[in-house]
């Protein structure tokens, strides 16, 4: 579904991604790990269409379409979802109203009729149960005054409501305690299926205890320098990123 080839991107004059290659198929879970500053979040931003990043080379195909040509909202319509590392607080817009607008705009994009109030409520009730999320949270302004855990749970709830084909979780575990990680992971696991894929971006292995990946990639200096299975994540946890850095740096010198 997702084919990234030789992707180069940066911000202003700074090059961050220097040739990423990655293919994701339906039903797969990929983890992208790497030390700070390796380009993990940039990759997520470029895929979702954040404006301030410039793609200088390479291509990204999503179900055969040129993803980089699409506006962020069109990418969402095509079934891409980014769970933000730092979900944005939007004063004066209730979470329910926001999600209803999002669901119906995505449906419109896909040529489906808008859900009426009853249909929307039914869908919301169902997903609320799945995500263990409280009604009172949804009637508050979007993310405003939410705790870190509430914000991340709200991200996963939005994901459940929008039913994406590819979900990108950008450091969803950052700032969460282990209970919150468990709740968020459970949510992700409940919506995993053979038709959709998940790209988990994380610094730590612990999230991968709960969202078990099929593949693990290590990003360093803007490139995927090592790929493997979930065992690679365990090795990283044990040995730290230094051994990867050393391998790369020695390789560069040679």
């Amino acid at each position: 579904m997702l084919k990234i080839q030789n992707l180069h991107a940066g911000i202003e004059e700074k090059k961050i991604l220097k040739g990423i290659n990655l293919e994701v198929k339906p039903g797969e879970v990929h983890a992208i790990m790497g030390p700070n500053g390796s380009g993990k979040s940039t990759l997520a931003s470029v895929l979702a269409g954040r404006e301030n990043f410039e793609v200088t080379d390479g291509s990204v195909e999503f179900y055969g379409k040129d993803l980089l040509e699409l506006a962020p909202e069109e990418r969402a319509g095509e079934g891409l979802f980014l769970a933000f590392q730092y979900p944005v607080e939007i004063p004066g817009l209730t979470t329910t109203n926001f999600i209803k607008t999002a669901v119906n705009e995505v449906r419109k994009y896909r040529g489906q009729d808008a859900l009426d109030a009853v249909g929307f409520l039914k869908l919301m009730k169902e997903k609320m149960g799945l995500m263990n999320i409280d009604q009172s949270l949804l009637s508050r302004p979007l993310n405003e005054g939410f705790s870190g855990g509430e914000k991340k749970r709200n991200e996963i709830f939005q994901m459940a409501m929008l039913e994406p084909r590819l979900a990108i979780l950008d450091e969803t575990d950052s700032g969460l305690d282990i209970d919150a990680i468990r709740i968020v992971s459970n949510g992700v696991n409940k919506i995993r299926g053979k038709d959709n894929a998940v790209l988990v971006i994380t610094h730590y292995q612990r999230l991968l205890d709960y969202i078990v990946p099929d593949f693990v990639h290590v990003l360093y200096k803007g490139r995927i320098v090592k790929s493997g299975t979930k065992e690679l994540a365990l090795e990283l946890e044990e040995r730290g990123y230094d051994f990867i850095k050393n391998e790369v740096n020695i390789g560069e010198e040679a």
Binding site: P72, E73, G92, F98, A102, V106
Partner: protein, 433 residues
């Protein structure tokens, strides 16, 4: 003939049959007006708002104007929602129109200022009319006071809650000639009474129009005043709207100003807190496009200890429009333990739009809590991207963000029909983006 000479001539033609208290203030104001003239931009309080040049166009101010052709047809077009359950006070070219007005609440007394000053309310008028003495300091205020014609006195009796709001319509008839309106009212809310007051401004016709309005509101102990101004007159119209709220007992006052349209709009919203433990709220929203210039000058004057005031003005300024905010907080020497908060937040939508904001704190007491802050910025890019990433198109995302930005001010409007109406006006404005 220059502006001042013209008005001087008009002053000489004013009828002289007024009760003494009124006559004195009028004379003082006339002298002050002739001396000061229309404030120029070199006047610190008028630095960003140029009204003097408007008068170069010449305004008719007919002294003996009585019946104009404003009738039910015009009223129907400009009535606010909920008017069937409201007290309607209609001012045409600044003069109160008894024929067009409807008083529904029996505990609400509405009299001409002259009538009131000649009867039992004379002490209230003597004590409160022109109390701020701004008519001696500011030419535009002096002008209103010098020409008081068809002014009203409104009284709410003790312990009475006026369930039906007052809708005050200020209509300026500029169909045939340039027209000047100088509406004036004095509103007195007695002990433990409650009043909701909504003001709107309307110009008929395409000639030049200038409305220079003053309303003074006095609240006694335990009174509750909710005051709303909605300004969306035609784009060629000019307005100076001065609201003085005077708390003479421990009470609760509330003022919300919503400005959308006009050529130049200047609001002077002042609250004087003369009793301990008073509470004052001032809110404002300006959502501007075209060439509209809106200037909100506010003063919260803490004269006594333990008062609380909260002030929040928000602006969304697009096209070539201009927003001005000047918020003054005075804390007098003995006014210890007061809490005064002030904030002004602006979003600029285009390169040609501008905002001038100036918070001013003058604190003469040493044990107070005051805060102020102002922001001017573009629409939050990260918020926009967040909404877009959920499938919401950029234009709709912008509209949701801006609506969200305005919503905390709209929510301050406690009258449901008026809040819905203001919300609808904002939504219409958002659709134009």
């Amino acid at each position: 003939m220059d502006t001042i000479s013209y008005f001087k001539e008009q002053l000489n033609q004013l009828p002289q049959t007024q009760p003494a208290a009124l006559a004195r203030i009028r004379q003082e104001a006339a002298d002050a007006f002739v001396q000061q003239g229309i404030p120029a931009t070199r006047h610190e309080e008028w630095k960003y708002t140029r009204i003097s040049s408007l008068f170069n166009k010449g305004f008719e101010w007919p002294v003996n104007q009585s019946a104009t052709a404003v009738g039910e047809d015009q009223m129907q077009a400009l009535r606010l929602p909920g008017s069937e359950k409201a007290n309607e006070l209609v001012f045409v070219n600044g003069r109160f129109s008894k024929e067009l007005s409807v008083i529904r609440s029996k505990d609400l007394t509405v009299l001409s200022l002259e009538e009131a000053a000649a009867g039992e309310f004379e002490p209230l008028i003597a004590a409160h009319l022109g109390h701020s003495s701004d008519y001696l300091k500011d030419g535009i205020h002096a002008m209103n006071t010098a020409f008081m014609q068809g002014a009203v006195f409104v009284h709410v009796a003790k312990n009475k809650i006026i369930a039906e709001p007052v809708y005050a319509y200020h209509i300026t008839d500029a169909r045939a000639a340039n027209s000047l309106s100088l509406p004036r009212s004095l509103v007195y809310i007695s002990q433990a009474a409650e009043l909701h007051w909504v003001e709107t401004f309307h110009t008929l016709g395409m000639q030049e129009s200038f409305t220079n309005q003053v309303v003074e509101m006095v609240a006694e102990k335990d009174a509750r005043l909710f005051y709303y101004k909605i300004q969306h007159d035609a784009p060629h119209t000019n307005l100076v709207s001065t609201t003085h709220i005077r708390q003479i007992g421990q009470c609760y006052t509330y003022a919300v100003t919503i400005s959308l349209d006009g050529h130049i709009v200047r609001n002077n919203t002042h609250v004087v807190m003369e009793a301990e433990h008073g509470e004052a709220h001032l809110y404002g929203l300006y959502f501007l496009n075209g060439n509209t210039h809106v200037d909100n000058h506010t003063i919260v004057d803490n004269a006594k200890p333990h008062c609380y005031s909260n002030e929040l003005y928000k602006g969304v300024v697009g096209d070539s429009a201009t927003g001005v905010f000047n918020g003054k907080i005075f804390v007098r020497q003995d006014a210890q333990k007061i809490n005064a908060y002030q904030s002004n937040k602006n979003i600029i939508l285009s390169d040609a739009a501008s905002v001038n904001t100036k918070p001013q704190l003058e604190i003469f007491a040493d044990d107070v809590k005051c805060s102020h802050g102002c922001t001017i910025g573009r629409l939050d890019e990260e918020g926009l991207f967040y909404l877009q990433s959920r499938g919401i198109p950029a234009k709709l995302a912008q509209s949701l963000l801006l609506h969200g930005f305005t919503s905390d001010i709209l929510e301050k409007i406690k009258l449901d029909v008026i809040r819905d109406y203001a919300d609808q006006l904002i939504s219409q404005r958002l659709e134009l983006l």
